[in-house]
């Protein structure tokens, strides 16, 4: 029975029937060629219109906004509780710090009019504050606010209830922090501590005592969860709090009353993107103006028409460590394998760190030569040098008595040169690095097995020391004393000294380097430490990573450096956008 046919559908049907494969290829080829032509044409047009970085002499435009991308959400806006850059970036914009920081980590004045030198006995620091700083509600920012910030962390009356992350350190180091007059703060330490300014005064943000004292007194144990910490109504920095759409973005507004002068931008948005790929995509679409670029995507962004890119060597240091404590009951390998220094050194020489930097870090890293990052003033080149030399490594292992067995694995006295390498799963770079390590060591006769573990198990190994070889990465702060928790025997099982490394000479040198404030003396001590540790080799320094940034071409003066890229950003108020939008 004939059915009525829908005319429209008929046309579509005919189209499908008549559209032969040859036609398809011809036409799609033409379409592709045409769009390429269009694309090329557009680029030519844009180039002709002078698209490119504007001349430096262009006048600064006021107004507009900037959107920065991060891959995680802030957890708090109170510096006393903040531990991650997603939180410290907005904190640094909303709160004026006691001292600010240059790109190389040198402290510079901020609320404090000058960077104080310690007293002759090295125990006291006097801060003279500027007298024109105000809170956004009009109150003066005074020494009381500075004292309040420290008090909640070291004063026994509050510290154990508030439970700030830095409290254990401050309770141990600080004798008192007092307001001598309205604009003078005196800090007295229990013992000389050279990194005091760098570690606890730079980027430290006074809190509004006139708002928070009563919040604290009402419920000190709940201070961490005070509403202020998630929406600071009263701030002191270049920007004020606009709003926080959780897991989406933080919006900050310019503070016209900022003592350093109103920022050029009207608003600043810190937008949360799901991962590094999303950040690069949004940089390309323009939904983000600024964001960090993952090393694997660096080449991909080279052709982005709307981006400038910057990179610099940051304080990142990637490493692996051996379990070297012979008395460690968990150390299957340690007592019998890694107790021999020549084994540790030989294994290190079997790793091609340059290739690691080129392939796994996509050329966005350089081989490390010591236990400090490239940014450290204490970095020494007077250390034992280890070239990539697998034949020498093999010879060293032969000489140490590790003979190659029939299965290709070396053995000595019935013990095989076999061990595990652990790192946490979920970090692609680390997973690749441990594969490279395992393969490099297999090539010289060591049977290394990769074990990827959850992050919680990985962090547990700090205490249990339950591993053979561990791989990780550290971002160091300015002061070299950050390495103490990794190489001093008293931190075994308590902090970063997972390796169980003991060297009383190193302990002595590291302690001495903290109790003198003479930079030259300190450097000399650190030079000695590096020489010893690079000989002892409880760790194998791998690479130093680059910090990579994509910046939209309309953004000017966005100039992060190794130590002022996240929280301390004294250059931020001078950032401006060429279109003023």
């Amino acid at each position: 029975m004939p059915r009525e046919r829908d005319a429209g559908l008929d046309g579509f049907e005919r189209f499908l029937e008549e559209w032969s494969r040859r036609d398809f290829l011809k036409r799609s080829g033409g379409a592709v060629a045409f769009s390429l032509f269009l694309a090329g044409g557009m680029e030519a047009v844009l180039a002709a219109c002078g698209g490119g970085a504007p001349a430096a002499s262009q006048n600064v435009k006021k107004g507009g906004h900037l959107t920065e991308g991060t891959t995680s959400d802030p957890t708090t806006f109170n510096y006393a509780f903040a531990q991650d850059t997603a939180s410290t970036i907005p904190i640094g914009m909303m709160f004026a710090p006691l001292l600010d920081e240059k790109a190389d980590g040198t402290p510079i004045p901020a609320l404090a009019k000058s960077v104080p030198k310690p007293s002759s006995d090295g125990l006291t620091y006097k801060f003279d504050l500027r007298q024109d700083a105000k809170w956004s509600d009009g109150h003066d920012l005074t020494a009381d606010d500075v004292v309040f910030f420290y008090q909640i962390q070291y004063d026994p009356k509050y510290a154990d209830l508030v439970n700030a992350p830095q409290a254990p350190d401050l309770k141990e180091k600080v004798k008192s922090v007092t307001a001598v007059d309205k604009y003078t703060v005196v800090m007295t330490l229990n013992q000389v501590y050279a990194p005091w300014i760098d570690n606890y005064c730079v980027a430290a943000t006074p809190l509004p005592k006139h708002i928070l004292q009563e919040v604290l007194d009402k419920a000190p144990k709940d201070f961490r969860n005070a509403t202020y910490n998630f929406g600071p109504t009263v701030t002191s920095g270049a920007f004020t709090f606009g709003r926080w759409d959780k897991t989406s973005q933080v919006v900050l507004n310019a503070n016209p009353k900022f003592y350093g002068g109103r920022p050029n931008l009207d608003q600043y948005v810190i937008k949360n993107a799901p991962d590094s790929i999303a950040i690069v995509n949004q940089l390309k679409t323009g939904e983000l103006d600024v964001g960090g670029i993952d090393p694997s995507l660096w080449e991909d962004t080279a052709t982005a028409t709307n981006l400038n890119r910057i990179k610099f060597t940051g304080p990142g240091w990637e490493w692996y460590g051996y379990q070297v404590d012979p008395n460690n009951p968990k150390g299957r390998a340690s007592g019998r394998i890694f107790s021999d220094k020549s084994v540790r050194q030989a294994l290190y020489m079997a790793v091609d760190r340059q290739k690691l930097a080129d392939r796994v870090y996509f050329k966005q890293a350089v081989p490390a030569t010591s236990i400090l990052p490239a940014t450290s003033w204490a970095l020494s080149s007077d250390v034992p040098k280890y070239q990539y030399d697998p034949s020498k490594a093999k010879a060293m292992l032969d000489a140490a008595g590790w003979a190659v067995g029939a299965d290709g694995v070396r053995a000595k006295g019935g013990v095989k040169l076999a061990f595990d390498i652990i790192t946490n799963q979920g970090n692609k770079t680390r997973e690749s690095v441990v594969q490279v390590l395992a393969e490099s060591w297999k090539a010289i006769g060591a049977n290394a097995t990769v074990k990827l573990i959850t992050f919680s198990e990985y962090t547990k190994t700090r205490q249990t020391l339950d591993f053979d070889v561990v791989m990780g990465g550290i971002t160091y702060a300015v002061d070299p004393s950050d390495i103490n928790s990794m190489y001093e025997a008293r931190f075994i099982g308590k902090s970063a000294n997972r390796m169980g490394y003991r060297n009383s000479q190193v302990d002595d040198l590291l302690e001495k380097a903290v109790i003198t404030t003479d930079r030259a003396k300190r450097k000399d001590l650190y030079v000695q430490v590096q020489k010893i540790v690079m000989e002892d080799m409880p760790v194998g320094p791998l690479v130093l990573t680059q910090s990579l940034w994509g910046i939209n071409k309309r953004v000017q003066n966005f100039t992060p450096g190794p130590f002022n890229r996240f929280q301390a950003r004294p250059w931020l108020k001078d950032v401006w956008v060429t279109d003023g939008k």
Partner: protein, 326 residues
């Protein structure tokens, strides 16, 4: 009779909910181990005392059944606790994000329904012809294609490539609204909704169009359709007024089955498009071992599913006299 039936079903629902919470709790804690959420383990200054203090503050040092008991007690008082990572009440988190997820999943369902009806009908009417084959192939492909891949392709096609070639993206590729606009501009919200809703709806479309097609075919072979034609009724009227109406009833059931998925179904799309929904949030917090938040969201979703099923059971019993009360 009905009362006893409902009571029995309700009791089963409570047992199911308890089971869900116990299993979720157990799974989280057995994988989490000693890990304390919110602590920055990469900080070289981190001390064991700090970790211990925070663990104690969160009650994580107590035996798991004590922790579960305390949590359950609080939940019965409608207190879901606070997030261990950011300290905000869990219910606040849920309330802030649930509307965004609903916006996305409802839009996806509408998109799916709106397109699968014509697709299914056309396929049925042109059964065996080239149009039918093409639509079938697209359906199968659409079902086989992973959402995240489709999402990334769509981001490239409508966002990255136009932005690089023409200077501006055709559509926004992330978020539910422009940060500066504040989320109150309906047009802004709509443009942000297009890409994720289409990607999410594509999966629905693929399945539902097939269903509509077979349902339509079945209806078209029914006696009453033949009768209508025999009476001389116009083909258009037969198909679009009588047959279609009956063919889409199974579709209603299918859409109904998706109701529990309203809360959790958009997870992959939410992550790819940075959509501020509850699925993505739960996923990120699960990775970070934010115990309280994950328990809160899982329980909430479980309550919705169980309540929905309970309601459906009771309605069937009330409406359909063939259902016995046993």
């Amino acid at each position: 009779m009905l009362g006893r039936y409902v009571a029995r079903r309700a009791l089963v629902a409570v047992v199911v909910l308890l089971g869900v919470t116990v299993i979720t709790f157990g799974l989280m804690h057995s994988t989490g181990g000693d890990y304390v959420p919110g602590v920055n383990y990469d900080n070289p200054h981190l001390r064991t005392e700090t970790i211990t203090a925070i663990r104690h503050e969160y009650g994580l040092d107590q035996p798991w059944w004590v922790q579960y008991g305390l949590w359950l007690w609080n939940v019965l008082h409608l207190d879901f606790g606070r997030s261990m990572i950011d300290g905000a009440p869990v219910t606040d988190h849920i309330v802030q994000r649930l509307p965004n997820t609903l916006e996305l999943t409802v839009a996806a369902i509408l998109f799916g329904v709106a397109l699968s009806i014509p697709a299914g009908v056309v396929s049925a009417l042109r059964r065996g012809e080239r149009l039918d084959h093409s639509l079938t192939t697209m359906s199968v492909a659409g079902f086989a294609v992973p959402e995240f891949w489709l999402g990334l392709m769509v981001i490239l096609l409508f966002g990255v490539i136009p932005a690089q070639r023409l200077g501006v993206p055709l559509l926004p590729t992330s978020g539910a609204y422009d940060p500066l606009a504040g989320g109150f501009d309906p047009l802004d919200r709509l443009t942000h909704l297009v890409l994720p809703a289409v990607v999410l709806g594509f999966a629905y479309l693929s399945v539902w169009s097939r269903f509509t097609r077979s349902s339509m075919l079945e209806v078209l072979s029914q006696d009453y359709v033949r009768t209508a034609r025999a009476k001389g009724m116009g083909e258009r009227r037969v198909v679009y007024v009588h047959a279609l109406r009956n063919a889409i009833t199974p579709l209603v059931t299918l859409v109904g089955l998706e109701l529990p998925g309203l809360v959790s179904g958009g997870l992959v799309v939410e992550v790819v498009f940075g959509w501020p929904g509850i699925g993505r949030f739960a996923y990120e917090r699960a990775i970070a071992f934010d115990y309280t938040t994950v328990m809160g969201i899982t329980t909430f979703a479980a309550v919705l599913v169980v309540a929905g099923n309970l309601l459906a059971d009771v309605l069937y019993a009330v409406l359909d006299p063939r259902v016995s009360y046993s």
